[in-house]
Amino acid sequence: MAIVAAVTFGALLVAIVCGLVIGPTSIPTWRLVGELFAHVGIGHNTLTPLQWDVVWQIRGPRMVIGLLAGSMLAVAGGTYQGVFRNPLADPYLLGVAAGAGLGATFAIIDISHGVGTPTWTPLLAFVGAMGAVIVTWLIGGRSMRSNTATLILAGVAVASLLTSAQTFLQQQSSANSITRVYIWLLGSLASAGWGTVWLVFPYVIVCIIICVGAGRALDVMSVGEDESRSLGVPVRRVRFVVIAASSLGTAAIVSAVGLVGFVGIIVPHIVRLLVGTSYRRILPISVIFGAAFLVFADTVARTVIAPSELPLGVVTALIGAPVFVIILSLRRPVAV
């Protein structure tokens, strides 16, 4: 566990440095380190004005939003897998993705009529995402006493409904706006600035803390609802708090960066294969691993076909799937 934590943390540092130095304007690592020291009052600025702008105005916020998104999606996926006791659960299970998709589509097609991606988009995506989860909960949450399958099925139903509404909107609009919607759906950190960072930061940090703090409860809940209640866990309350935190954090991230797929499902599984089945270990390591993974994926996304970019969701799947398969074949698979 300690080794895995150290290696993951090391990977995170490497991903951060790569994320800041690699790109069209190359920045020597030693200059970046000097600048970081200068920033906290040790030594003086070693970057040219252009490099300074690139680090602090472009790559910096982009990297921070990547860290937040990776951590949040990974920990939300791990938490969902624990709370639903289902290895296929991911942060989009209860309709967050479909709701955000519909919100964004509405903003792009109906408000701006396909001219641009309006500033409304994140807000409407957020409203759509939270609205979808709330509707799912209202439909499926009441029968949570017996099992969580009803909630998952409610999520499937709500997601299908919202996706069909989104398809309808797209079908009514121009090819240009469909392209914009499509780009948004695939996720990107390109438009992230410090404003976005500060907007989502408080939600995401609080949600991550709640999810990680629920590790022990999720470990007990792996013996099922009745038994965990008999062991003293207020299962329904834990479930509500944890689902609310995961969904809120995911909705905040999705509204900021679009639908970045695969992180939420693959990172917790990779971590589980490395550190075992206890959520007290899986969740904190997923936070670090997810952050490192997404920053690394974003560095790849913006450099391989520079000056244009690959969609982030494509890169996460392209890197994540083979890595997952390799680890899966090396280790005996462990159930959730």
Binding site: V220, S222, V223, E227, L231, G232, V233, V235, S278
Partner: protein
């Protein structure tokens, strides 16, 4: 004061009444077993005593405190459950599984204390599980697994333990071992055990008292010897039963109906 008091208890599932107006009291240091045909309401009764089901009428009190006023944690400090079909998550070690019994003591946001760990160790030792402590619980044999589930219930350090068919799926020797272990704990620690069992012979041999339940109502309630030898027993099971004395123990034998 009784350890467990069940007063005018009724439990419904939708329109169907699973338990009707049951009143029972269980004393400290005694083992009581609830018997009855399938669908009699045995599991419903013990699950309600364990706090997993809400009564539609009446109440259950543990050591004088009503279950209805307790939250999950307070309940877990007073009554432990060995379920009929325990969920054993794969990948969890025997030690970690047994230690789950201490969660109600140390809470969800604190690690187990030194005292908690000592209790886990001592239960592992008492139930001969020390050699398995790092094994994946899901890889144990049926008997070992059931011992592990019992160990988890005992680490809860409650005065009341509810066993719902604790020997299902075990071979004869392991059935006896499991019940002997529990009997020993009842004597050593003065526990109150409320169990359900299908095997009438074992029910009679291990319980101080038998409660015969049928269609959600208490039909007979008395010492094992009396209930086992009652004509009512065969009637309620709808079959021929003979009770044979083997070395001073009652053995219940089903007899096939003569075909006509």
């Amino acid at each position: 004061m009784s350890s467990v008091e069940v007063r005018e208890l009724s439990v419904r599932a939708g329109a169907k009444e699973l338990i009707s107006n049951v009143t029972l009291a269980f004393e400290p240091g005694t083992w009581s077993t609830v018997i009855g045909p399938n669908g009699a309401g045995k599991t419903t009764l013990v699950e309600t005593i364990a706090g997993l089901r809400q009564p539609s009428h009446g109440s259950v009190s543990i050591l004088g405190h009503s279950l209805a006023t307790m939250n999950e944690r307070e309940r877990a400090l007073r009554v432990a459950l060995v379920p009929q079909h325990p969920v054993v998550p794969s990948g969890m070690s025997v030690y970690d599984y047994v230690a789950l019994g201490r969660v109600a003591h140390h809470g969800l946001f604190h690690p187990p204390s030194v005292g908690d760990r000592k209790i886990v160790e001592s239960v592992l030792e008492r139930l001969s599980l020390v050699g398995f402590r790092d094994r994946d619980g899901a890889t144990l044999s049926g008997g070992e697994r059931q011992r592990m589930v019992l160990a988890r219930a005992l680490t809860q350090s409650t005065m009341v333990v509810v066993l719902d068919e604790p020997i299902t799926g075990l071979d004869l020797r392991h059935q006896m071992d499991m019940l002997e272990l529990m009997k020993h704990e009842v004597h050593e620690c003065g526990l109150t055990v409320v169990a359900t069992l299908h095997d009438l012979t074992l029910a009679g041999q291990f319980a101080d008292r038998l409660v015969l339940l049928d269609l959600g109502e208490v039909v007979l309630d008395g010492t094992a010897a009396v209930v086992i030898r009652s004509d009512e027993l065969a009637k309620r099971y709808g079959m021929n039963l003979r009770v044979v004395d083997v070395d001073g123990s009652d053995v219940v034998v089903p007899v096939r109906h003569e075909s006509t």
